[in-house]
């Protein structure tokens, strides 16, 4: 058997208590395009960073063309013929394309000689792979797709035989993505190998020869792309490991609390993130939003949480049309997905964090903060949610991640909202706390609160939600009561928007 271009054996990497890569094996044959799929946080990027020498594996071996190599720095990877195109480009924008190519391999005190030689060599590479870029253009003035091409060119110029692309299409228009794919096919024809990291299943189906699926730090499957389907991949990515058992009776939905109509959102670059969303959430029910992460769920939460303004569409709370900015005042509580970044001010004390977002309320004082009220409430939450250490004067930084989470949860739940938005309810929470949080969410529902949950854990949605919305590519691609849902159908819908995007 011919030696693989790249082979990784039993790679493990821990960050503190988290296992990012757990004895990962993968084999990349030369002359193939190999996809690696998995949700955010599944460990794909960690694995690639290990291969490119940014991170050092705790254990395991790396083989290039059949012989074991030691890669502890990117330059070792480059020497071994591995090139990487990052999600965020590593280019110096004010310099020209040619000058960017030369970075790190200038070849002498004056640039002139290196430049002439490089120009010839790069022109040859451009011809061979159909990678036309004007070498004298200033990088900052190029379109994003061309900048990416410069990155690929740079890697090839440095002798890359294997090219790693990390979420390459995230920033591209569909046309630019098509160009990219034809370039990748060209590379393959010339005998080079490509590793494509993505969570877009449509891309995997279109360009790869083989695909590996990662979930929670482990490699769960290696498949021939021809022999698999989007649905199978979606299922493998999301998994169905442990089914959380949440004891709950049937929902008794009351009046409509949230009504979203024709919501559109374009980001700063003009890329559509939310497309024509319409749905409602009633009092006394839990609505779960499922989907592969990165399909607009985060943006939906940000709009509903009043953090950014929608491009179009309307949001009504209890029948009242609402401006996105004042949505919090209408009784919407929001437990953000990234609680540690958005939900807390780490340099401020726990009791100050306990009112973040609610500090304007009258019961916390008029002009002055009524610190006594704040302290007594915070102490109460600290004991009810078992937040440790039990000291409300400590800065938020002094608490462990799990306790910071509990503080945010307590704050949002205990301010008596009519609608509770929760992003990734159990991300970064230990098992005991998961149960507590799930039970509390059901309790709140039974008290008549409307709850909207966004989670990438399909099991969590299945066990907690009364109704499910599936999002794909910024749209709602499916909706159903949980009682009638099965994972196969949901997997199909999760992949569906992707098909739309790929066409």
């Amino acid at each position: 058997m011919q030696a693989a271009a790249i082979e990784l054996r039993a790679i493990s990497k821990r960050f503190g208590g988290n296992v990012a890569n757990d004895r990962v094996d993968i084999r990349i044959e030369s002359g193939t395009i190999h996809g690696i799929v998995g949700e955010n946080g599944a460990g794909k990027s960690t694995l690639m960073n290990i291969l490119y020498g940014y991170l050092k594996a705790d254990s395991g071996a790396m083989l290039v063309d059949g012989s074991e190599v030691e890669i502890s720095q990117p330059r070792h990877a480059i020497a071994a013929g591995i090139g990487m195109v990052h999600q965020h480009f590593m280019l110096v924008e004010p310099l020209t394309v040619l000058e960017n190519m030369l970075l790190g391999s200038e070849g002498g005190v004056t640039l002139k000689r290196g430049m002439t030689a490089a120009r010839r060599e790069i022109a040859r590479i451009e011809r061979d792979y159909g990678l036309e870029v004007d070498l004298d253009a200033v990088v900052g003035e190029l379109a994003v797709g061309l900048q990416q091409r410069v990155e690929i060119l740079k890697a090839l110029y440095r002798g890359a035989r294997t090219l790693i692309l990390d979420e390459p299409t995230g920033v591209l228009t569909p046309q630019e993505a098509d160009h990219l794919f034809s370039i990748l096919r060209n590379l393959k024809m010339q005998g080079r190998s490509v590793i494509l990291i993505t969570h877009k299943l449509g891309e995997i189906m279109r360009v790869t020869d083989r695909v590996s699926v990662m979930r929670r730090g482990q490699m769960v499957a290696h498949l021939e792309t021809r022999a698999t389907s989007r649905e199978q991949l979606a299922e493998l990515m999301v998994g169905r490991a442990v089914l959380f058992q949440v004891a709950k009776g049937p929902a008794r939905p009351g009046p409509e609390v949230l009504r979203v109509e024709a919501l559109d959102l374009k980001d700063e670059r003009g890329v559509a993130r939310l497309k024509d969303l319409s749905f409602s959430v009633h009092a006394g029910e839990i609505v779960g939003v499922a989907g592969v992460s990165g399909n607009g769920q985060s943006e939906l939460l940000e709009v509903l949480g009043g953090m950014r303004s929608p491009t179009r569409g309307s949001i009504a709370i209890r029948g009242k049309m609402t401006c996105w900015r004042s949505i919090r005042e209408q009784g919407v509580a929001h437990v953000p997905e990234d609680r540690l970044r958005n939900g807390l001010v780490r340099g401020m004390k726990a009791y100050e964090n306990a009112i973040l977002g609610y500090h304007r309320r009258r019961d916390y004082g008029g002009f002055f903060l009524s610190i006594r009220t704040i302290l007594s409430r915070t102490r109460d939450w600290f004991s009810r949610y078992d937040i440790r250490p039990h000291d409300v004067f400590l800065n938020a930084t002094s608490f462990s991640g799990g306790n910071q989470q509990k503080l945010v949860m307590a704050r949002e739940i205990e301010h008596g909202p009519v609608l509770l938005l929760i992003g990734q309810p159990t991300r970064g929470v230990d098992v005991g706390a998961i149960e507590l949080i799930h039970r509390r969410i059901v309790e709140l529902r039974d008290q008549g609160m409307a709850v909207l949950i966004v989670s990438v854990e399909l099991e969590e949605i299945m066990s907690l939600a009364d109704r499910i919305l599936v999002m794909a590519d910024g749209r709602i691609s499916g909706r159903m009561p949980t009682a009638m849902a099965d994972e196969r159908a949901i997997g199909m819908m999760m992949a569906d928007g992707d098909a739309v995007a790929a066409d």
Binding site: E329, R341, L344, G347, M348, H359
Partner: protein, 368 residues
């Protein structure tokens, strides 16, 4: 309780590190004095005696300290909102314009109106001069560091123009306003304290220092006890969280810069209403820049700022005494000493910090 709550780290930060920085600055200064052939110990003594040795010295030291409290608070307030206001110099200068307008055109005011009106006007005009960069930052994204520095030059030119062409005392050459009526003169502290046997000589220390201390209390209340201060700190610590909490970040940036400019503008009260009784070209004399060092050294807390302001007041006062008594130590050497203090206290504040934290905190951390 308080000590336990705040922990060792707090006291290292607020007490030990500034002292070490100061010692390092004096050590290097001593070497310089040695280099020019004078006795550094005698120089140090002359400086300390000149700043604290007798009543009038105290008076001058505290007079300068009053200036530094105002501008130090100004820098600190902006800093709590995550803004680096380098424009204290210009804002203080424009505060002088506020006083000049009232003093020149409303000289008829009775005393009980004259002084509050002048103080208010100083804060108002200083505040407007802070509003400009605040608005530019919040609505147009122009960085306050750049705009405030540039506005210092605009302020200097504007004041020069106004003092030469508009506000100048009729029939005289030097660019300064008329001497304001007595209703605008703040009482000198020696006239108050003299009868109680406190000798302040004929120092310019005046009632402004009470205003400065009042500002310290208000600053403390605002930043740590009010909702506005809460929002300011949230914006300063974590803008993402501020957006999440529904705080209008731009509005807070603008308010913080207005308040910062107003505090800087109040410095003119001390110089103009308290001492010179007229506005003179260039009366700010670089105090605004020293405010940055004061705020840095005082860790943006009013108590720290008071202590740092007294230190810099002492350097100013003791320094001029030193230059007088030791002819070979010129005024410029004194500026070098001040510069070293700023360098060690401000610029190099992290030189000894991490080292000390590591040394002193390790045994404490290792206990479970």
């Amino acid at each position: 309780m308080a000590a336990a709550r705040r922990g060792l780290s707090f006291w290292i930060d607020i007490g030990l590190i500034p002292l070490i920085n100061l010692a390092a600055a004096f050590l290097v200064s001593g070497l310089i004095v040695l280099l020019i052939g004078e006795n550094p110990l005698r120089a140090a003594w002359l400086m300390i005696y000149g700043a604290f040795g007798y009543g009038e010295a105290w008076g001058y030291t505290l007079f300068y300290a009053t200036n530094f409290i105002f501008v130090g608070l100004a820098v600190a307030l902006a800093f709590h909102a995550g803004l680096f206001n380098i424009g204290g110099e210009g804002q203080a200068y424009l505060g002088g314009l506020g006083i000049a307008i009232v003093g020149t055109f409303a000289g008829f005011l009775p005393r009980f109106l004259a002084i509050p009106a002048a103080i208010f006007s100083a804060a108002l005009v200083g505040g407007i001069w802070g509003l400009v960069p605040g608005w530019l930052q919040a609505r147009r994204g122009s960085h306050v560091v750049v705009t405030t520095i540039l506005l210092n030059f605009v302020a200097a030119s504007l004041m020069a123009y106004l003092l030469v062409n508009v506000l100048i005392r009729p029939g005289q050459q030097s660019p300064e306003t008329i001497v304001f009526p007595h209703a605008f003169w703040l009482p000198q502290l020696w006239t108050w304290l003299g009868p109680f046997g406190v000798d302040l000589g004929r120092s310019p220390l005046n009632a402004s220092i009470l205003l400065a201390l009042l500002c310290c209390i208000l600053f403390w209340l605002l930043i740590w006890k009010t909702k506005l201060g809460y929002e300011i700190r949230v914006v300063g610590h974590n803008r993402d969280a501020a957006v999440y909490a529904g705080i209008n970040v731009g509005r807070i940036v603008i308010i913080a810069m207005i308040l910062s400019g107003a505090l800087a503008g109040l410095m003119a009260v001390n110089e103009v209403l308290g001492a010179q009784h007229r506005v003179i070209l260039g009366f700010v004399a670089g105090y605004g820049y020293v405010g940055i060092a004061v705020a840095l050294m005082g860790r943006n807390h009013p108590i720290g700022i008071i202590l740092a302001a007294i230190l810099f007041g002492a350097l100013y006062q003791g320094g001029s005494e030193l230059a007088f008594d030791m002819p070979r130590v010129s005024r410029d050497i004194v500026v070098v000493v001040q510069g070293l203090v700023i360098l060690f206290a401000g610029g190099l504040e992290h030189l000894f910090g991490p080292l000390l934290q590591a040394r002193l905190m390790r045994p404490q951390r290792s206990q479970p």
